[in-house]
């Protein structure tokens, strides 16, 4: 039972890493295509980011600097837990600064700061199949991808417009990659979709429970699906971040009391902190300083 306590570098054995790297290479070669891989049980539950963790474990080296975010924040419990996992099993340096990280594992957000060449963004993906809620069968959806038969998706978006006057998808908004595969960007808000387009960073997507890996290589076209008369648009917030005053960033609503009081603050905690350190102050930030 002594074996229980000792692990290979980054937890996974080297054979498994090779298998996952092969899947990643194939995914990079066919942007947006979901490559089946033999997902392993990880020491955290399915749904907690096992796909992302396996991808990160397969690509991380001793000199990498890892950042982990969940909902844009470095300090949400699961981000803390995954960061601690890699600090333990790979003994790598970790950071909360987007600019310092070589690998960023994320759940549901893309950092506000523009990613640079050489950085890798690893997404945790719950349901990799963008067509899954239109067609539950894997055997069918694989055929649809093979035949590039995406009419069903357009019908869904059209029905949204007919019913609600707009496309009612706000996150996990489907994109077309390099003019070929329709891809689920993972449940990031559609606000982040434009950041994927021709990003300098390599974007890898891991879905552990669903046994799929896919990728968007640097400088790849990623176009959100839309119609000529209903062009894709991102969310706009009416007020800037209450703490750092940032505009054009994704905001979280924080409830302040039970009388409807609330404020909006940056979802990207690192971005917010860096701005405040640089002297930017928002509405509530000022009041806080005054108190």
């Amino acid at each position: 039972m002594n074996g229980v306590a000792s692990y290979n570098f980054a937890y996974l054995d080297e054979q498994t890493k090779r298998m996952i790297r092969r899947a990643i290479l194939k995914a990079v070669a066919i942007p947006g295509y979901q490559v089946p891989f033999s997902s392993r049980e990880m020491p955290m539950p399915y749904g907690w980011g096992t796909g992302g963790v396996q991808v990160t474990a397969s690509i991380i080296g001793q000199n990498d600097v890892l950042k982990v975010i969940d909902q844009g924040a470095d300090d949400t419990t699961n981000a803390v837990s995954i960061r601690a996992f890699f600090a333990k099993v790979a003994n790598v340096a970790t950071t909360t600064h987007t600019a310092d990280a070589t690998i960023i594992q994320t759940r549901h957000r893309i950092p506000e700061r523009k990613l640079e060449a050489g950085q890798i963004l690893v997404y945790q993906v719950p349901i990799p199949e963008p067509l899954r809620f239109l067609e539950p069968r894997e055997t069918e959806t694989r055929k649809m991808h093979a035949l590039e038969e995406y009419g069903l998706m357009h019908v869904k978006l059209y029905e949204d417009i007919a019913r609600h006057g707009r496309i009612a998808t706000t996150y996990a908004y489907p994109v077309k990659v390099e003019g070929r595969y329709v891809m689920d960007p993972s449940p990031t808000p559609k606000f982040d979709n434009p950041k994927m387009h021709r990003s300098q960073a390599l974007q890898l997507f891991g879905a552990g429970r669903e046994h799929r890996i896919y990728a968007v290589p640097p400088f790849t076209d990623v176009v959100s699906l839309d119609f000529e008369d209903h062009p894709f648009e991102i969310q706009h917030f009416e007020a800037p971040c209450a703490l750092c005053g940032a505009e054009g960033v994704y905001l979280d609503e924080v409830i302040l009391d039970d009388r409807g009081g609330h404020m909006f603050v940056c979802s990207d905690t690192d971005h917010c902190e860096e701005r405040r350190q640089a002297g930017h102050v928002g509405d509530q930030g000022m009041r806080e300083a005054a108190e």
Partner: protein, 360 residues
């Protein structure tokens, strides 16, 4: 003033300390030992081994202890350990025909060669709570040595008369399917399907098996035979050129005999559903064989109309470690996506109010 989930690290550490404390419970009560769990909660251990796909009673007991008796959590612990083990190869197929039988019953014949043996079963016990077992230390009864009889399987008895579909032919050189090493690709071959069912959730398979009995994909089943006992596991070592025994494992095997009318190509004969599970796990083995038979619908040209006959549906949802992970992950923060939905619904309501006002 903005304190949302700051200090996650300390919170996690404290939660884990509290969990460890709750697991141990009242310190004036003696701590459980693994051998107590192995010996006295044997069927829980068997379930953790079976669905954890790792035959090790002591590790399964440790998992149950660590999981505070939550069996799905224990199964998860076993799986997460199992996946780190090196894979040396695949054993020879076990031969349940040479099983050292402890229990063997057939519902299709009153008596049969080598007889029926009830073994350690709950069947025919009266389910009356029995306070006398608490803290008891009754003397162990004298056990008869298990006969090393070669009890022919009921399906083989019927097979000799041509009334039973034969075992399928398998190429012995065909690589062994392994769902823990290759991603599933539907439709599956039966070996992979049986593998998935063998580690599938007992409750899920029980409910699906039950549904076939109630008419959702009826298969007219009879228990041809259930047998529980120990079999040898042999491993072919290429350097030696012959198979050596690695030891013995206890398994439960269920062969369900099902009606089949026959077709233009096949004369009328009985068909089979198969269940094989680590340890003593009769409910699971029976459920598995019902579902296995239901999933063979296409093979026999039956209409696929019920959930239990739908391979992709059954196999995609039978794994309780996957299922519990995805269901329970809903408690992780989702506030970014929720914010997006909140924003949309506010806009739509504002528009709606505008239309209402314009109408008035």
């Amino acid at each position: 003033m903005y304190v949302a989930v700051k200090g996650g690290e300390a919170a996690i550490a404290n939660a884990h300390r509290l969990l460890a404390d709750r697991r141990r419970g009242d310190r004036s009560v003696p701590a459980l030992r693994l051998d107590q769990i192995v010996e006295q909660l044997g069927l829980a251990v068997d379930r953790a081994m079976g669905e954890g796909s790792l035959y090790d009673r002591e590790l399964a007991a440790l998992a149950i202890l660590q999981a505070r008796g939550d069996l799905i959590e224990a199964i998860f612990l076993v799986r997460a350990y199992r996946t780190t083990l090196p894979r040396f190869g695949y054993s020879e197929p076990i031969d349940t025909g040479t099983m050292r039988i402890e229990r063997r019953v057939s519902a299709t014949f009153k008596d049969l060669p080598s007889g029926q043996m009830l073994g350690p079963t709950f069947d025919y016990t009266h389910r009356l709570l029995d306070p006398s077992i608490v803290g008891e230390d009754a003397e162990a009864p004298v056990l008869r040595e298990a006969d090393a009889v070669q009890a022919l399987r009921v399906t083989d008895l019927l097979g000799r008369q041509g009334l039973m579909e034969p075992d399928g032919e398998t190429d012995p050189h065909r690589p062994v399917g392994d769902l823990t090493r290759e991603p599933l690709d539907f439709p599956l071959d039966r070996d992979l399907r049986l593998q998935a069912l063998a580690r599938g959730d007992e409750g899920f398979l029980l409910a699906l098996g039950y549904s076939t009995q109630r008419g959702y994909g009826r298969t007219h089943p009879f228990v041809g035979e259930i047998r529980i006992g120990e079999v040898d596991v042999e491993f072919d070592i290429t350097e030696l050129g012959f198979a050596v025994s690695l030891g013995r494992i206890r398994v439960t095997e269920c062969q369900m005999v099902n009606q089949f009318k026959g077709s233009a190509k096949v004369p009328p004969q009985f068909t089979r559903g198969y269940g094989l599970v680590f340890g003593q796990a009769e409910r699971k083995a029976m459920s598995m064989s019902l579902v296995d038979r239901a999933l063979r619908a296409k093979e026999f040209g039956e209409d696929v109309v019920a959930p239990a006959q739908d391979e992709e549906f059954v196999i995609s949802h039978s794994d309780n470690v996957q299922a519990t992970g995805f269901v329970e992950h809903l408690k992780l923060p989702h506030y970014v996506d929720f914010q997006a939905e909140l924003d949309l619904i506010r806009r739509m309501r504002a528009e709606h109010d505008g239309i209402q006002e314009a109408a008035e």
